[in-house]
Symmetry: none
Subunit: 388 residues, 2 copies
């Protein structure tokens, strides 16, 4: 089944709010194996909403609308569906009684415009709304289904989970995915390396560029969870074989959570000395909820271009100031005589008891040097600890 979303509400197109309905519904739909092909935001304008619904029902089997079910004149979703299907809304006595009770219970006078929320058209069934005054509409006509839901997230989510998803869930197929996270490799290089995998229709492999590196998303459609996950496992194994140790995590892993896990697993403690990264590295590592066991302290010195303080010096400084096994230092400077937009930075990892003293240099664009310096330091730490 092919679904699409139509979010009704001028506030979306004035920039007053961010649309979170699409992400919510996208996840719920994929969990029951329904493909989502489009999501459109349209303002509170009858002609435009009708046009969107006509286009949507033309190309999709299932159209989910959010918003426009309120009592006011600019709530037009009901009118638009009625016009699209050439039907006339009438007040449903049962819904009208329900509304009256709702207002009596809250000792609030019910205004006449609230009666709009008791409207139905012949092809529409009302969907119970336990969280508000606007019932949804479930409309089926000419082989197409339009499900109209209220805009407030609390009402919409509750209605979706209790009234709609259970009836839509066919149990035919589920869609599951797993994301591999990579660092220090370009998107195009990953694309090239994974060429043999990407044409596959199921599981599919998609590549995304994120601030903390490249992500490879493996998505499988299968009759059930177990089948989907084992299909993903096969592709993941092959992907890891091709990419090697640039893969640092999966799904919700972050570079700091991976580093902290490795430190705790090896019962190793760490102290940080940083200049160019301006405290970002310390805040990422010390800010991790499980870092109490491994973080011993951080020293942040000004990134003064004049004084050259090298990464190993900063690492030693940190080890001298704080009682830790491992000292990490990060320093940076503009690359002499090169593009002023490029920075070179140095990462040192000292582990005296193991006789380890690693120093690597990396580059990043000037405006990203803080984040990239911290990411590179965490990645170097990960690689080193993975070997130990």
């Amino acid at each position: 089944m092919r679904a699409e979303i139509v979010c009704v509400g001028s506030e979306l197109l004035l920039g007053d709010i961010v649309d979170t309905h699409t992400q919510y519904l996208a996840r719920r739909l994929s969990s029951i194996g329904i493909d989502l092909h489009h999501s459109t935001a349209v303002g509170d304008n009858l002609a435009r909403v009708v046009d969107c619904l006509r286009h949507a029902t033309g190309r999709s089997d299932l159209v989910l609308t959010t918003g426009g079910l309120g009592p006011t004149d600019d709530d037009l979703t009901r009118e638009a569906i009625a016009e699209l299907f050439g039907e006339t809304p009438t007040v449903d006595p049962v819904l009208a009684d329900g509304l009256r009770t709702f207002f009596e219970l809250r000792k609030v006078p019910m205004t006449t415009n609230n009666l709009k929320q008791a409207w139905l058209i012949p092809s529409a069934h009302a969907i119970t709304n336990d969280r508000g005054t606007a019932p949804g509409w479930w409309v089926t006509k000419l082989g197409k289904t339009i499900i109209a839901m209220p805009g407030p997230p609390g009402e919409m989510h509750h209605m979706w989970e209790h009234e709609i998803e259970p009836r839509l869930a066919t149990g035919e197929a589920v869609i599951r995915s797993r994301t591999l996270k990579l660092f220090n490799i370009s998107e195009s290089r990953v694309d090239e390396l994974l060429k043999p995998l990407t044409p596959a229709a199921n599981p599919t492999t998609a590549i995304y560029a994120k601030q903390d590196g490249i992500q490879v998303r493996i998505t499988a459609k299968a009759p059930n969870d177990a089948a989907a996950m084992s299909a993903i496992a096969v592709t993941e194994k092959e992907t890891r074989r091709i990419l090697g140790d640039v893969v640092w995590g999966v799904d919700d892993d972050t570079l700091d959570s991976v580093a902290v896990s490795l430190l705790n697993a090896r019962v190793a403690t760490v102290a940080i000395g940083e200049s160019v990264t301006a405290g970002l590295l310390t805040s990422m590592l010390a800010g991790n909820d499980r870092s109490a066991a491994c973080f011993r302290g951080g020293l942040v010195v000004p990134d003064s271009e004049g004084v050259e303080q090298r990464a190993p010096d900063l690492a030693r400084l940190a080890l001298k100031r704080f009682p830790a096994d491992i000292g990490i230092g990060v320093s940076g400077h503009l690359v002499p005589g090169s593009n002023p937009e490029m920075d070179e930075f140095e990462i040192a990892i000292l582990w005296p008891r193991r006789g380890i003293e690693t120093v690597v240099t990396q580059r990043a664009r000037h405006f990203r040097r803080r984040a990239m310096g911290a990411y590179h330091a965490l990645d170097e730490l990960r690689k080193l600890l993975s070997l130990e």
Copy 2:
């Protein structure tokens, strides 16, 4: 002029990410008086993207696309625009040279698929991308304009603000806004205080809750910039009179940029000692681009619940380690015998030469203690420096 947005990327329809482009562009468009009528998300599927662009150009004069400009096979926006207008992409030698330089600077091999990013069609002009490898496309044909921008927000925003908005701004009716930023006051309290202002139709006053406090957005529509700004000035003056010193900044101000400005204006230097905030305060202050003149160093110690290290001790520790005028200390602990979700933290600001030693305690929910501790410290510093 009637505009609409087409966001290209399957990740939007799989629920991987929330679309923030629409809100960003909606606000920018309204600020130059261009009406936004629709925003559509579509997956990485050539036929579907072409269909969306055809429908969009059919009903709107200006179509803004985001995403699908990467180097990989599932980046299809260029292909879709070319197909829509029946033109054939060719590699532009100038763009290709630019790409090669970009990769040489990073010492990264340029792969052949990157050449896609040097494509142009006869109707397209390239739009410079100072933040990445994908130039945008500015395509005008048959009275319609399509502007294709990259998906990563950092690249898209920079391109919009520097290359696109300046050329689109027509100078008819303009909509301008100014945002006042507040801290340490609740949204409902602000709403209550500003009741007398909010009914006004022009300028309008809207209240938003953000992570770093409450924002009051004043928006005026007028024939020109000067008229809009002076209408805003009147409302701003009244708003500031009502709210007093909880107002810490406007528009793009951040708590750290405001603190750094005040420090630099007073030629005062600062050193930080923090535990509960885990380096976040140092990274915010030292991470500011203008902090070279005022930041002398930061010391981050573990937030060990056992050892009680008070904020004044941490401030002294920082002043002892680094040569600064002002020492800031932040420590924290669970409130004894209170809701385990609530944390109490202590902020100390020592300025020996002025004989200043301020210590305040604040509370925040446990999961927000790091951010709130840093915000409160910066806000206390702001208030103190504003008085000096």
